[in-house]
C-alpha cells in the first residue's frame, strides 16, 4: 500500500468530525431561544437518533452557545469566533441511520446530511419564526481527533473528499466546485473552510 492509500485508509477510520454551517443573518436570534426548541425536539423525538439533554452556555464569550446533546453527536447553535452557526459534532456512529459507514467519502456525505437536516428543521421551526437562515455554502469542517495528523497531506486528502461530498450534496459555486481551504494555526485541529 502506498503512502497516499495508507492515509486514505487511516482517514476512513476517523469518526470524530465537527461540521459548522454558518448562519446567514446571525443578529436575528438569541442563542437562548434555542433552549425550548431543543427541549421540545427531545420530547418529540424529531431526529432519528437518541437525544439526551440541552446545555446552555450562552453566557460564555464566543462559546458553544446552546447545545442539544445526543448520544452520537452534539448539535449546537454555536457562537465561536463570533460567527454563529449550526455546529454538528459527531462522536459515535451507533444509530441505525449511521450503520455501514465505512469510508471517508461516506462519512462526509453523512455529516452533511445530518447537519443540513437540522438546518432545515431550525429554519422551519415555528418558535423561531423564520428568523434563522443558514448559508449552506459557508461551511467549516474540522477533524476532532488529535490522534490523526494535521499535516499538509491529510489536509489535501480531506479537502478532496470534502469537495466530492459537497458536490454530491448539491453545494456548488455556480457551475464550479466549491473551493476549500485550510484555516487556523498549525497547532489547532485541522480545519477546512469553504469559499
Amino acid at each position: 500500500m502506498d503512502m497516499e492509500s495508507a492515509l486514505v485508509s487511516d482517514l476512513d477510520t476517523l469518526v470524530k468530525f465537527d461540521l459548522k454551517v454558518l448562519a446567514a443573518d446571525p443578529a436575528e436570534v438569541e442563542a437562548e431561544e434555542f433552549i425550548p426548541v431543543f427541549h421540545r425536539w427531545i420530547t418529540e423525538r424529531v431526529l432519528p437518533e437518541l437525544l439526551i439533554d440541552v446545555a446552555d452556555y450562552s453566557h460564555v464569550h464566543e462559546g458553544p452557545g446552546v447545545l442539544l446533546v445526543g448520544h452520537d453527536a452534539i448539535y449546537a447553535y454555536d457562537l465561536s469566533r463570533g460567527e454563529p452557526g449550526l455546529l454538528y459534532s459527531r462522536r459515535h456512529e451507533s444509530g441505525a441511520e449511521l450503520e455501514g459507514i465505512g469510508s471517508l467519502d461516506d462519512r462526509l456525505r453523512s455529516l452533511l446530511e445530518c447537519a443540513f437536516r437540522v438546518c432545515d428543521l431550525i429554519e422551519a421551526e415555528p418558535n423561531l419564526g423564520g428568523r434563522v437562515a443558514f448559508d449552506r455554502h459557508r461551511l467549516e469542517l474540522r477533524v476532532n481527533d488529535r490522534l490523526f495528523p494535521s499535516d499538509k497531506a491529510t489536509a489535501v486528502t480531506l479537502a478532496g473528499a470534502f469537495q466530492r461530498a459537497l458536490a454530491e450534496a448539491g453545494v456548488h459555486d455556480g457551475d464550479a466546485p466549491v473551493q476549500v481551504k485550510r484555516i487556523g494555526e498549525s497547532r489547532e485541529r485541522l480545519t477546512l473552510r469553504t469559499g
Binding site: A6, K16, H39, L50, A55, H59, P64, H71, S80, S94
Partner: protein, 766 residues
C-alpha cells in the same frame, strides 16, 4: 505527496509511551482493564461504581435511562442495552469527569491539554469548581482511560477526585503572593496531595475527606473551618527565648464541613511544626478509616466522628496513632525543596504609570486586581461566568500567561482564575488582551460574581436550577449596577451570593452572605421549584460561621428577594455595620416578613411561569391535572401540617437568634414531630399528639416501609427524628443550630415524601 510523520492508527497509550508517570500509567491500565471486565460482566456493579468514582468518573443527570419532559418520564434508549457502569447508571449515558487540580495551580501545558480534551471529548467547556478542580461534562466512559493518559502526561491526575477518598487539596489562591500570610502554603499542599494520593491509610473511608490550606486566619481564601482537615499557616519563636529565630507550622482543624448539616471545625492542634504535618494527617486518616461510620453514609464524614467522640477523645486517638506510625522519609523529604511550587515572575517589577487606558480599565482594576506582597506585582482575577470558560479561552489564557508570568494560573473556590506575579506596568496591555478574549469582565469576588454548583443542569441530586438562577442573578445585578439600581450601592458591592441546587451545599451556600439551596413545594396539584434563603453566613475568617434558612421562595422570585434584602440593608444599616451583623440585628422574622408575599403561590392558570425553573422551559412538576379531589384534600391537609412545622422551625431560628439554645432545640424537635404527624394523618387521621405515639407511628408507616426514604440519602432524614426523640434536650448553641438545620431538612424530606404519596395516589386513581 509529502511524507507522513504521524501514525494515526496509534493509540494514545502508544503515542504517550514514556511520558506518563509509571505509577499513574499503571493505575490507568488497571482502570482500562476493569472497564473491559465490566463489559464482560466480571465486576460487581457497586464495586465498579466505586472504582470509577475513585478515578473521577462521575455520573450525570439522565444516566439512569430516564428523562422527564415535564409531562411524563420517558426512556432514553441508549445503544448499550442493559450494560451499566454502576447501580441504575447506564453505560452509554454521558457522565462528568472531575479533574484534580491541587491548590488550583495550572501551567500553560496543562491548560492546553485541558482545552484539547474539552473539545474532543466534552462540550468545549472547562468548568472551574468550588474546590479548584476542573470538570468536563458529557464524557463517555470508554474515552476516560485516554483522557487520563493525556492528563497524566501533563502531570494531572483524576485519581481519587471522587468517591470515598482524599479529594482535591485546596489552598488560598494567593498563597505565595499574599500580604498577610506568614509563608507560602503551596508546597505543603503539594506535598500532602501526593503523600496521601493512593496512600494505604486513606483507602478505607466511609465517605470523602477534604483538606484545605490557608495562609492566614482572617480571610476566606482557604476556608479551613469548613473542611475535614484544615491547616492555617503560623510561625512561632523557636527555643525557650534564648534564640530569636522562628519556625513554621500550622494550626490544624478537624471535623468541619458543609453538606446538609454544616459543622464548624474543631482545633486539633494549636501548632504543629511543618515536619509534623504529614504524619498528623496520616494519623487522622487512620482514625477516620478505623472508626468512621461505614454503613450509614449520611453520618460517615469526619465531622460526625468528631461530634460523636468529642474533640478530646478524637485527639487522644490521633496521638495514639501518631505514636505507632512507622517512620516515613516522605514526612520531611519535601522540606528540602520548598521551591517546587514557586512561580517566579518573568517580567520586571514596575509600577503602573499614568497614561491612556483601555475602556473599562479603571473599573476592572478596582475589582479584579490585588496588590501582592512583592512590590510592583499584582494578582489579576478573571471573573468567569458560572465558572465556565471555552477551550479557545483556555488556550488563549495559556499563551497570555506565558507572556506575562511564565504561564501560571490558580483556580479559585469562587470559580474564577487568578493570574499572579503580573507586573503592574503590564496591566493595561493584559486587560486589553483578556477583554479581547472575553475574560475582562470586572466584578470578581463581588455581588455579581455568583457562585453555583451544577444543580439540575447536570447533577443527579439537583432539585433546582442553581446555574440557571445564578446566571439570571448575574444578568440582573449587572443591569442594576449599570443603571445605578439598588444593587449598585457600595454597601452591597462585596456581598457574596452562593447557590446550591440541593441541601448538599456544593455551592457553599452556608458561608455566603446571601445563600440559596434548591427545594420544591407543591401547589395546585403541581410542584414548584423553590430556593431556601440562607442568611447570616460568614465568608471571611475562613468561613467563620454558617447561615440558616429563613424561608423558601419560588425560584422565579429569588431575584426580587435579593433586591429586597439588599435594599433593606442599604437603607437601614447602621454606620459600619456588616451584613452579617445587620441580619442578626434586624432578625430573621423581619426578613421573613419582607419576603412573605413572595411565598404566596398563584395557581397554575394564574401564572405558569413559576411552575418551571430558570433556564428550563419544561414544567417542573410531574403532577397530573386529573388528580381526584379526594386526594387533593388529603394533600391539602398534609401541606397545612407541614406549613405548621415550618413555622415551628422558624420560631426555633428566632430562639437561636436570641441565644436560647434549649428553646431552639425544643422547637426543632416540635417541628419534626409536627411534620411527621402531618404525614401520618394521610394514613391515620386519629393520630394523637404524644411524641412517643407520633414517632412510633412514623417508624411503622414511613420508616419500616421506606416510604420516607430519600432516593439518594435513604434513611438519613428519618434518623434525625429518631435521634432527637431519644435525646431531646440540649443547651449547646452549636447542637441547637444543628438540630434546627436537621429539622428544616426533615421537613423538606416530608414535602418530598408527600409528593411521592400524591403521585402514587394519582397513579392508583388512573
Amino acid at each position: 505527496m509529502s511524507q507522513l510523520t504521524v501514525d494515526s492508527t496509534a493509540t494514545w497509550k502508544q503515542r504517550l509511551e514514556g511520558r506518563v508517570p509509571p505509577h499513574l500509567d499503571e493505575e490507568i491500565d488497571i482502570f482500562e482493564t476493569q472497564i473491559a471486565q465490566k463489559r464482560q460482566g466480571k465486576i460487581d456493579d457497586k464495586v465498579f461504581a466505586e472504582t470509577r468514582l475513585r478515578r473521577g468518573v462521575y455520573g450525570q443527570r439522565y444516566d439512569n435511562g430516564q428523562r422527564h419532559d415535564g409531562t411524563a418520564s420517558r426512556a432514553l434508549e441508549y445503544p448499550c442495552g442493559d450494560l451499566t457502569k454502576g447501580p441504575n447508571t447506564v453505560w452509554d449515558a454521558p457522565g462528568m469527569l472531575r479533574i484534580k487540580i491541587p491548590f488550583g495551580a495550572m501551567n500553560g501545558e496543562q491548560m492546553e491539554v485541558l482545552a484539547d480534551l474539552a473539545e474532543e471529548y466534552s462540550d468545549g467547556i472547562a468548568h472551574v469548581t468550588t474546590r479548584q478542580d476542573i470538570q468536563l461534562h458529557f464524557i463517555h466512559i470508554d474515552d476516560t482511560p485516554d483522557i487520563m493518559r493525556r492528563l497524566a502526561a501533563a502531570g494531572i491526575t483524576t485519581q481519587e477526585a471522587c468517591g470515598n477518598s482524599v479529594r482535591n487539596v485546596t489552598a488560598c489562591p494567593m498563597a505565595g503572593v499574599c500580604r498577610d500570610e506568614p509563608f507560602d502554603v503551596s508546597p505543603y499542599a503539594h506535598a500532602l496531595t501526593w503523600f496521601l494520593l493512593g496512600h494505604k491509610d486513606a483507602q478505607d473511608f466511609g465517605r470523602k475527606f477534604k483538606i484545605a490550606f490557608s495562609g492566614c486566619a482572617q480571610h476566606a481564601c482557604g476556608l479551613a473551618n469548613m473542611h475535614d482537615l484544615g491547616a492555617v499557616a503560623q510561625v512561632r519563636p523557636t527555643g525557650n527565648g534564648t534564640s530569636s529565630g522562628t519556625e513554621r507550622g500550622f494550626k490544624v482543624y478537624v471535623g468541619g464541613g458543609l453538606g446538609a448539616v454544616p459543622h464548624q471545625a474543631k482545633v486539633l492542634r494549636e501548632f504543629v511544626r511543618e515536619d509534623e504535618l504529614l504524619p498528623l494527617a496520616q494519623a487522622v486518616c487512620r482514625v477516620f478509616g478505623r472508626l468512621g461510620e461505614k454503613r450509614n453514609r449520611a453520618r460517615a464524614r469526619v465531622k460526625f466522628l468528631v461530634a460523636k467522640l468529642g474533640i478530646e477523645e478524637f485527639t487522644r486517638l490521633v496521638d495514639e496513632e501518631l505514636a505507632i506510625l512507622p517512620p516515613d522519609d516522605r514526612w520531611s523529604a519535601y522540606l528540602g525543596d520548598l521551591s517546587v511550587t514557586d512561580e517566579a515572575p518573568t517580567r520586571p517589577a514596575a509600577t503602573l504609570e499614568a497614561g491612556e487606558r483601555p475602556d473599562g480599565f479603571a473599573e476592572w482594576l478596582g475589582s479584579n486586581v490585588q496588590r501582592q506582597r512583592q512590590p510592583g506585582y499584582v494578582a489579576v482575577a478573571i471573573n468567569l461566568p458560572l465558572g465556565d470558560l471555552t477551550s479557545t479561552q483556555l488556550r488563549a489564557l495559556a499563551d497570555t500567561t506565558r507572556r506575562y508570568n511564565g504561564g501560571h494560573v490558580r483556580n479559585t473556590v469562587e470559580q474564577n482564575i487568578l493570574l499572579r506575579n503580573i507586573s503592574e506596568a503590564d496591566l493595561p496591555a493584559l486587560y486589553a488582551e483578556l477583554r479581547e478574549q472575553g475574560m475582562g469582565e470586572p466584578g470578581a469576588s463581588s455581588l455579581v460574581d455568583v457562585t453555583a454548583c451544577p444543580g439540575t443542569d447536570t447533577c443527579k441530586l439537583g432539585i433546582s436550577a442553581s446555574r440557571g438562577l445564578a446566571g439570571e442573578l448575574r444578568k440582573r445585578i449587572a443591569t442594576s449596577i449599570k443603571t445605578t439600581g439598588v444593587l449598585a450601592d457600595e454597601a452591597v458591592k462585596d456581598l457574596r451570593i452562593k447557590v446550591s441546587g440541593c441541601f448538599n451545599s456544593c455551592g457553599q451556600h452556608h458561608v455566603a452572605d446571601i445563600g440559596f439551596y434548591g427545594v420544591s413545594r407543591k401547589s395546585d396539584g403541581r410542584t414548584i421549584p423553590h430556593f431556601q434563603v440562607i442568611l447570616g453566613g460568614q465568608w471571611t475568617e475562613n468561613a467563620g460561621s454558617y447561615g440558616l434558612a429563613v424561608v423558601a421562595v419560588p425560584a422565579k422570585r429569588i431575584p426580587e428577594a435579593v433586591e429586597r434584602i439588599a435594599g433593606l440593608y442599604v437603607t437601614e444599616r447602621e454606620k459600619g455595620e456588616s451584613f452579617q451583623s445587620f441580619i442578626a440585628r434586624v432578625g430573621k422574622a423581619r426578613i421573613r416578613q419582607l419576603l412573605d408575599d413572595l411565598t404566596k403561590l398563584p395557581t397554575y392558570l394564574e401564572d405558569r411561569t413559576l411552575y418551571s425553573d430558570w433556564g428550563d422551559p419544561r414544567e417542573y412538576t410531574i403532577g397530573d391535572l386529573g388528580v381526584g379531589e379526594c386526594a387533593g384534600e388529603v394533600v391539602t391537609a398534609v401541606e397545612f401540617g407541614l406549613s405548621a412545622a415550618e413555622r415551628e422551625v422558624f420560631q426555633g431560628l428566632l430562639e437561636l437568634d436570641r441565644g436560647a439554645a434549649e428553646a431552639a432545640a425544643a422547637k426543632a424537635y416540635a417541628a419534626m414531630l409536627q411534620a411527621a404527624r402531618a404525614l401520618i394523618t394521610t394514613e391515620n387521621i386519629d393520630i394523637g399528639t404524644a411524641p412517643k405515639e407520633i414517632v412510633g407511628e412514623f417508624r411503622t408507616r414511613f420508616y419500616d416501609t421506606e416510604l420516607f426514604f430519600d432516593p439518594y440519602a435513604g434513611a438519613k432524614f428519618a434518623n434525625y427524628l429518631f435521634r432527637i426523640h431519644g435525646d431531646a434536650e440540649t443547651d449547646s448553641g452549636e447542637e441547637a443550630h444543628r438540630r434546627i438545620e436537621e429539622a428544616q431538612l426533615f421537613i423538606e424530606a416530608a414535602h418530598a415524601c408527600n409528593q411521592r404519596i400524591s403521585e402514587l395516589q394519582a397513579a392508583r386513581v388512573a
